[in-house]
């Protein structure tokens, strides 16, 4: 381990950053995966329906832009 690490960090001690961040990613990734696996399905179902329920109640043509045009096809 030391034989690998020493020549690598000789170039710059700042190289610890990428190594640490790589490991940090795996930790965060595992956390996210654990979270989604353990969460309740019902909550996700409700959230995934958000695009389908944009609360639209009415739509009218713009009187300023329409110039009285109606649907033709």
């Amino acid at each position: 381990m030391r034989a690998i690490a020493e020549p690598f960090f000789e170039r710059s001690p700042l190289l610890l950053g990428p190594v640490f961040t790589l490991l940090l990613f795996f930790v965060v990734f595992l956390g996210v995966v654990l979270y989604v696996l353990r969460s309740k399905s019902l909550r996700f179902e409700a959230l995934s329906n958000l695009p389908l329920s944009d609360g639209r109640s009415d739509s009218t043509n713009d009187p300023n832009d329409a110039s009285g045009r109606t649907q033709e096809c």
Binding site: R11, Y35, A46, L47, S48, S57, S59, N61, G68
Partner: protein
């Protein structure tokens, strides 16, 4: 006034499980600016693709390079900028604004949106004027000059402010997955664009970047790759997560998968930039990181693709009849293909063959035409009827667009794959004696010219399909009228106080503090003690994280996170900054140390002027300056490139495509007369060459009065020019130019070479490439009245075979 029945379902579904205040209000969306963005995207899409067809023609038939303003080197940046920032940019703004107002149930700020729209169009027009004029920073996808960069920053921040105002004023507490991708886009593009364009101006239209050489290359591709990631991918993924469910009338396949997809993608993408610099002088560790993270990107990218495609489950039959779903399904499939191919190309052995060839052009067009273009078409075909309260004018025309577009992409990509692999193999082919089988570079170009014609056919088919779409959308709009959409929204709830004591004392926060403390201790200890503490910190982090999870303390963390826009944005920012800082900082630090010890001397004033001409003409769009560590590269071009070779280069010019040969060690390879004749008429020295003529350089003067200011600016950035160098820059440049002109006269009877011309400056620069120091020494610095030994300088450049 007339009314129109909206084709969209009017059924209101309650989805959020959050408590709502009793009662309710309504919001009316006018969508005027969204319509404008749609039309701007369609218009600029036609323009950008027309320019694309023209540059494709120029590669197949060089006489199509008409005049200095319309050469390939100047038009290629115009094509890429128009397609990325004008076509996809406007499409993205339309989609982001439309879907965000619906998902967040909030209205856009009228003034900010208007400023955003007109500001962005003004930037596009400015780019369309300046790039053909040769006003460029010379970095791919970041060519715009500094005043336009400032305008981009202002307008982009206006977009960001407008978007975050939506978040602030929203009536839907939870942030749907599409919004996460939009947040990542706003934040990351801001960081990338600002950092990559840090520069010191020397004139109203020119500047030198803060970074140089390998550092500039790494920052550039950190930006360039993530411009693809966060401008061409994340916002379009957000659009996919909103519009595919809308068009299919069913929710996204897996919300769980979207969470993993999002966090993995934004964390991994930011690291992958170095895969554009594989097998170059970039440090090995950075190349390995770029490759590793690119390979890991396979998983989230395909997770997203699968999530998009499976959203259509149960609605596959609609693909036969619904053009919107056709385009979305094909677009997402192209996304899957492009994101499979991207990591594949990041494997060093594959990259060895593919880099600098047309394979990369085929790859990016699979993403641009298939993913971005088809997702845009799907969105427009769905959105325009909604915005005008009508139905699509012609489904048949939309179907025709789909088939001709798909066929066009397939023809385009097949041509580029054949061309790229052919050229890559020819570059490395050896004869029985071990030498190069195709020693003349131009042989490898003429061999692929038929594929350039095929590419033009494929691209033109796609363009024709796009024009048909534009006609169809215009007719659709004409058959309806702009609509106002009214939606029901819940009344806002009073804000609950944040229990800061409870938050700060919670297990996750304490765990982060503990791990940070141990890591901090490791930083002040040496060698194995420090390394041991790092390992201990990681063990604590992993075990602590698992413990916290097991206790289900984090059960609702993400759920709560989705309701807190600011915290969500902060976490996204941290995620993208972590990778960038960890990757860039060591390289920048090493560069500072290398500049202290390098033997490489800065460019002379004339070489610097010549370099600026090289950048302005866009020579980097066809010529690389990076000899990779392969025998066939050294045999053709000379000694392998090192970081020191480009240590003073602002911008770095390693390039990404070789339509012409590498120029890293061009200095001393040919006499100045050869360069003169080659630039005026490339085919006089290289029969079969497809390079445009640069005869105009022979009559375009260099303004030597601005040269001292250029040197002064570079001195401020750390280039070791002294006061005398700066004061005498103009006279030194004229003196060196006179030497070159005399050489041209003596060696080739060229009597009319203008010493103040850009062509002479360009020759000075080309003759410097690959040399540690210039072959020219001003008379004031000479101990004896003789020129510096050419032989010594040539030896420093290394050997090399023929081309």
């Amino acid at each position: 006034m007339s009314t129109a029945t909206a084709p969209e379902s009017l059924v209101t579904r309650e989805t959020s499980d959050e408590p709502r205040a009793p009662g309710g209000e309504t919001l009316t969306f006018e969508d005027r600016w969204i319509r404008y963005f749609v039309w701007a995207s369609v218009l600029w899409g036609v323009v950008g693709m027309l320019v694309g067809a023209l540059v494709a023609l120029q590669l197949a038939w060089w006489p199509a390079n008409v005049g200095p303003w319309l050469t390939f080197g100047r038009l290629r940046p115009l094509h890429t900028n128009a397609v990325i920032f004008a076509f996809v940019g406007n499409m993205m703004f339309a989609g982001v604004y439309h879907s965000s107002t619906r998902l967040l149930r909030a209205k856009l700020h009228e003034g900010l949106t208007a400023f955003h729209f007109w500001g962005w169009q003004l930037i596009i027009v400015s780019a369309a004027l300046t790039l053909p004029l040769g006003l460029t920073q010379g970095k791919e996808y970041a060519e715009l000059i500094w005043p336009i960069d400032l305008a981009v920053a202002v307008v982009w921040l206006t977009f960001g402010a407008n978007f975050f105002l939506l978040l602030k004023n929203r009536r839907e507490k939870h942030l749907y997955v599409a919004i996460w991708f939009y947040i990542a886009t706003v934040v990351t593009i801001t960081v990338l664009y600002v950092l990559n364009n840090l520069a010191l101006p020397f004139a109203a239209t020119g500047s030198y970047g803060v970074f140089a050489g390998v550092q500039d290359g790494l920052v550039q591709w950190w930006y360039g790759h993530n411009a693809v990631a966060f401008f061409l991918t994340t916002p379009i993924l957000g659009i996919m997560y909103y519009y595919v469910p809308k068009a299919a009338d069913r929710p996204v396949y897996s919300y769980r998968l979207s969470i993993v997809h999002f966090w993995s993608l934004i964390f991994l993408y930011i690291w992958a930039g170095p895969h554009h610099l594989l097998n170059t002088a970039l440090p090995d560790w950075a190349q390995s990181l770029g490759m590793l993270f690119s390979l890991m990107l396979w998983a989230p990218s395909w997770g997203g693709m699968v999530n998009g495609l499976l959203t259509l489950r149960g609605a596959w039959d609609k693909l036969r009849t619904d053009p919107v779903l056709k385009f979305f399904a094909a677009g997402v499939t192209f996304y899957g293909m492009a994101t499979f191919e991207g990591p594949l190309l990041s494997i060093r052995a594959v990259n060895e063959l593919a880099h600098y060839t047309d394979w990369i052009i085929g790859h990016v067009h699979g993403g641009a035409l298939g993913w971005n273009g088809f997702m845009a078409a799907g969105m427009f075909y769905w959105l325009v009827p909604q915005l005008y309260g009508t139905k699509l004018y012609s489904r048949r025309a939309a179907d025709w667009h789909f088939y001709v577009g798909t066929l066009g992409i397939v023809i385009y990509m097949a041509a580029m794959y054949i061309s790229g692999i052919t050229q890559g193999l020819m570059w490395r082919a050896e004869n029985e004696g071990g030498g190069l089988l195709y020693p003349t570079f131009v042989e490898t170009v003429t061999a692929i010219l038929p594929m350039y014609w095929v590419r033009l056919v494929g691209g033109s088919m796609y363009l024709v399909g796009f024009v048909v779409m534009a006609w169809n959308l215009v007719m659709t709009a004409r058959s309806g009228a702009p609509v106002h959409v009214t939606v029901k929204v819940p009344s806002p709830l009073p804000a609950a106080p944040v229990p800061w004591g409870k938050v700060l004392g919670s297990a996750p926060v304490l765990l982060v503090i503990l791990v940070s403390t141990v890591l901090g201790a490791s930083a002040v200890l040496n060698e194995m003690a420090g390394a041991s503490l790092v390992i201990a910190a990681l063990v604590i982090a992993v075990l602590g994280g698992v413990y916290v999870q097991v206790r289900r303390v984090t059960q609702a963390v993400h759920h709560e996170l989705e309701g807190t826009g600011i915290l969500f944005t902060v976490l996204v920012t941290v995620s993208i900054l972590v990778g960038g800082i960890a990757e860039l900082l060591p390289t920048v630090a090493m560069g500072v140390a290398e500049r202290e010890t390098t033997r490489q001397t800065p460019y002379t004033p004339l070489e610097l002027e010549g370099r600026d001409v090289y950048v302005a003409e866009g020579c980097y769009t066809c010529h690389s300056q990076m000899i990779r560590p392969f025998t066939w590269e050294s045999a053709r071009y000379g000694a392998v490139s090192e970081t020191a070779d480009s240590i003073w280069d602002r911008p770095y010019q390693w390039g990404s495509k070789r339509t012409g040969p590498d120029l890293a060690r061009e200095g001393g390879r040919y006499p100045s007369l050869w360069h003169y004749q080659h630039m005026v008429d490339p085919r006089s020295t290289s029969p079969g060459s497809i390079m445009p003529s640069y005869a105009h350089l022979a009559t375009t003067p260099v303004d030597y009065e601005r040269t001292p200011n250029k040197l002064r600016t570079l001195q401020s950035l750390g280039v070791p020019y002294d006061a005398e160098d700066i004061d005498l820059a103009a006279s030194d440049a004229r003196e060196q130019a006179a030497v070159i002109v005399e050489d041209l006269r003596v060696s080739g009877d060229v009597e009319d070479a203008d010493p103040s011309s850009e062509l002479v400056a360009m020759i000075a620069y080309l003759q410097r490439l690959g040399r540690v120091e210039s072959s020219f020494v001003p008379e004031r610095d000479r101990e004896e009245p003789t020129a510096v030994s050419e032989a010594a300088a040539g030896a420093a450049a290394g050997g090399g075979g023929g081309r």
